[in-house]
Symmetry: C2
Subunit: 401 residues, 2 copies
């Protein structure tokens, strides 16, 4: 058995980001840039006003001065002349400062009467003026390669004058659930059977990570059927299987796919839930064989598939985001397997946040997992921990998981 960290390192080592594709800017939210994006213009392109008011020459802006208003320059309608002494130009936030002017008289500090304006507060030269290139210059990198695009990035890329963006293609993830006992929701359930939940939960996890799930038909516990179903993964970036438990967890996946060329890297990890986990490749497609228990399947997906999707998407490889919380209840010492306890992180009325593990940790209890909002991480051989100690956690509520 190998450690969780070593398993993740070996899984990620076999993955490469997907190739780049061009998408319209309007479809780029949540995608990962494949190239740096440089500004195609300078912002602001010239000195502009930061306020509504009047442009004038600094020395003219003394209290009591009366200036001739020679025109107006609303944003988008620059005034083409050169401002002379004793003159003022009406302008607005974003208006280009005309040649000759170097100061702004604020609207609220001015009294307008016909074609003249009176200065009520002394102006300060260059104040309330946004200098050309204050935000960025043409050619500067606005967004680096390998960035997950949020709404602010999208605004910045638009402002930089890009209608198209080169991003990594969404990873395509084939999901293959196996088992004689499972039926799709709404379909007839065999005797002693259960309804398939793993492939649906995994497909949602893939979606939450920006991937496209290809849910293959459920394969019965039969080698030929499993091998046939797995051919559907050929055009995918990774194949994820779940189950194969009816003849000993995962034996069937290995024996069914070996004739098709499955190369197994490892298949046991010192963790709970989810000890049996296959990592390998099938015809060049990386394969991750997850346990059949629904809780084990989702937790191993969070630990291994989520980082794998990040790498395939063009992001740096990393463990799932881990933070720390105060324990709300004691925990016993741990054995040699890393444990991932389903837990509730709760903030009381005084603002104190604490995390407490559920008493039952049965890996078949999907409702308990749904009611969790955190996993407490217990390393192998962790000592007993007291309420009040700080423990590492994975917050599930931040991940859309």
């Amino acid at each position: 058995m190998i450690s969780v960290d070593e398993a993740r390192t070996r899984i990620l080592a076999g993955l490469r980001p997907t190739a780049a594709e061009i998408v319209p800017l309007a479809a780029a939210w949540g995608r990962v840039t494949a190239q740096p994006i440089a500004a195609r213009l300078t912002q602001p392109p010239l000195d502009v006003s930061a306020m509504d008011g009047y442009a004038l020459r600094g020395p003219d802006g003394v209290v009591g001065a009366v200036l001739a208003v020679v025109g107006a320059a609303p944003a988008g309608h620059p005034w083409p002349g050169t401002l002379g002494s004793g003159e003022a130009l009406r302008l607005f936030t974003g208006s280009i400062i005309p040649d000759g002017a170097d100061a702004i008289l604020l609207q609220e500090d001015a009294t307008r009467a016909g074609e003249h304006v009176t200065v009520n507060e002394a102006v300060v030269a260059r104040r309330h003026i946004r200098r050309a290139a204050q935000d960025y210059s043409c050619g500067e990198i606005l967004v680096p390669a390998g960035k997950l695009l949020n709404a602010r990035d999208i605004g910045l890329i638009a402002a930089g004058n890009h209608p198209w963006v080169a991003v990594h293609r969404r990873p395509r993830v084939a999901i293959l659930a196996t088992g004689d006992e499972i039926a799709l929701p709404g379909e007839p359930i065999p005797p002693g059977g259960i309804v398939s939940s793993n492939s649906h939960a995994l497909a949602a996890l893939v979606q939450s990570c920006g991937g496209d799930a290809v849910v293959l038909p459920v394969a019965p516990d039969d080698s030929a059927a499993i091998a046939a179903a797995a051919t559907g993964a050929r055009s995918c970036d990774i194949l994820v299987t779940t189950g194969g438990a009816s003849v000993g967890e995962h034996d069937l996946i290995q024996s069914a796919l070996a004739p098709a060329g499955l190369v197994v890297d490892f298949w046991k990890i010192a963790m709970r839930p989810g000890k049996p986990l296959i990592h390998g490749a099938l015809g060049g497609v990386p394969l991750l064989g997850l346990p059949g228990n629904p809780v084990s399947s989702l937790i191993t997906a969070i630990l291994f598939l989520l980082p794998a999707l990040r790498v395939l998407s063009g992001l740096p490889g990393a463990p799932p985001p881990t933070s720390h919380a105060v324990l709300g209840a004691d925990l016993p010492a741990n054995d040699h397997r890393a444990d991932h306890l389903r837990a509730r992180l709760v903030t009381d009325s005084a603002g104190n946040t604490a995390v407490s593990a559920f008493t039952r940790q049965d890996s078949a209890m999907l409702r308990l997992l749904a009611e969790s909002n955190a996993l407490i991480l217990r390393p192998p051989h962790a000592q007993a921990a007291k309420s009040g100690e700080i423990v590492p956690i994975i917050r599930l509520d931040h991940l859309g998981l």
Copy 2:
């Protein structure tokens, strides 16, 4: 001028969740349930084994006992008989416990020889057996109404045997950018013009909140053109405008849409950036008129449009998620307007996290906003704050914003 909280309360008071629609389970991730979802079956349906091994009668499971293996019951193939004294049944994780049996002999505690198995460790009755209904019973509510569905919920709904889910329709948000000076990315830029970024950033924000953006054509600063463009919002759940700044922030939106029936609730909020903000309704469609400055536009969207989208989606109305952080640099006292400082939340190598505001807070600097990962919230008349004090923040990195 009214406060940020009062503005938000008044905006949310005018909104109702969208109607329900039926979507396939595979399309339900990130949607909000319109009805509670009850289990359509009991899980497990009967007592099942939690381990691979043998079912037997408790009293038979003494060290050294040799039992006759009468058959096998892989998951999905229950054994129909009644287990007698001196008998054992081979089974696996998830297999139904046969009538007559009440104990599990673990595979690793057994020696199999032909049709017999020897007990190497004494069994404990009922141990390693998952009781029927341990996870949930038929008819129990698995997911309440008004829940944003994550991957674990999707798995649970599948397990509860639901191929379809009733969710609130995605809110449709019409976005109308106005201004003579703005051009879409890649299109010719007028003299003194800039490239439109607001509508793209707002559309991405809408998408990150689970809504559908309808980006209307850019309207020039002309009343008739604005009124014509705004008719595109008739089938939408809310109309968001940005800009209208060239003749005084927002005056044009109000004057252009008044003949079309715009009813204005308020239009000034004691906040920075973003004082001028229109709230009203146009022909029964709620209207939110955001400032034209790109930073002001996005920050007011986070404060008001994001909560509005939650309510429209069927979630409880609430301010954007606020947390707390240690200040990394002093802040001056605040004036009468609530301030929202663009800031960086940074964790140093020792694990200490601190948030520091950027020195420049110009509301035209979109790149600075993109480089922020938090907003520091400064209430009206907040006293000067020292490095090391705790301040409220909105984390932008958790919101896809």
